[in-house]
Assembly symmetry: D2
Homo-oligomer: 109 residues x 4
């Protein structure tokens, strides 16, 4: 089934939402919480997920024809970030945003 | 052969160099030149290539373990941008930066 | 009157909305329209406005104490971009997004 | 004395160098070191400084006429980040990059 403009607009919104959630949660919740929340690999995933979500939205906003592999890379990072959030206090919303974004990106990949 | 820290630092430098080249050339050469230089799909590729190069460098600077698919997506975009630059006046340096960046990113993918 | 968290969340939303509007309009409307829409200084303003809006949102999402001068720089760029959009066909929504973002950023500056 | 193209190229290089230094040091040194290195306001400054340096370079690469207030905002953030790095183990190179970038940006403001 071919992707539609509506799918793309929805994916852009998911990416910007996940970006906003990951960056704000990392900087304002994780840094304050300490402990497992700032374990290096977890925190790096939060930062890297925010970044690739932002760029995936950017790539679709530009409207370049070959956005598929960027979307695929974003879906991967979002899944890894969601797993890293699982079970950590106060991260349920972030985990959910990552899972929704991964699904939307897979549809565009 | 496993990637080394030296390979990664070199790849970060290639990505930032290609980002700088693509963005500056698009904005300061292509917009002035007009004609084929601002054909929408060419210009979009220049913008999208600048963006994914910047983010690929960012992902490696963060040092997150799973950077491979971001590097692969970057290599793809750089190859497409290089092809789009081929034969256009004043774009040889940009084309060359894209090809070198694609090679460095493939090594990290 | 001190700024509130609510003001900041609203400003982040305005910045991300203006970013999305400027980038998509530049790449998908201006490049297709040609003429005055791709006059170099207009197009550069569209790109630069998208970028500073994105970064101003980013700075507030991080939650760093000294975000004021970034917000002030963003308000300036948005006003200049709005003026550059005035009277150009199909740019009314973008112009309006820039004006609303400038107002929100001034409140945070 | 008017700014020259050479000054601007030098400033772009300082901004990209400071961006690279701040992001890599935050993610690969501070997160591992813990303690004062991940005190929230210090870490936020490192992230925010990386971001505004990146965007200030971007604004000059675009070549938009009104880059001055972005450069001024960058100089401010770099000075605050340099102060925050002072006396912290392993941060001398980052502090120095921030101070050099602040100087270069003031010249362009």
């Amino acid at each position: 089934m071919p992707e539609t403009d509506e799918d793309m607009e929805a994916c852009i919104s998911q990416c910007l939402g996940c970006y906003r959630n990951c960056l704000q949660t990392a900087s304002q919740h994780c840094l304050e919480a300490g402990g497992k929340h700032i374990e290096p690999e977890h925190f790096r995933l939060m930062m890297a997920c925010a970044e690739i979500c932002r760029t995936t939205a950017h790539t679709m906003l530009i409207g370049v024809a070959i956005h598929g592999r960027v979307c695929a890379a974003c879906a991967d990072m979002c899944r890894a970030c969601a797993e890293s959030c699982t079970g950590l206090h106060g991260m349920a919303e972030c985990e959910e945003a990552c899972r929704r974004c991964a699904q939307a990106c897979e549809k565009m990949a």
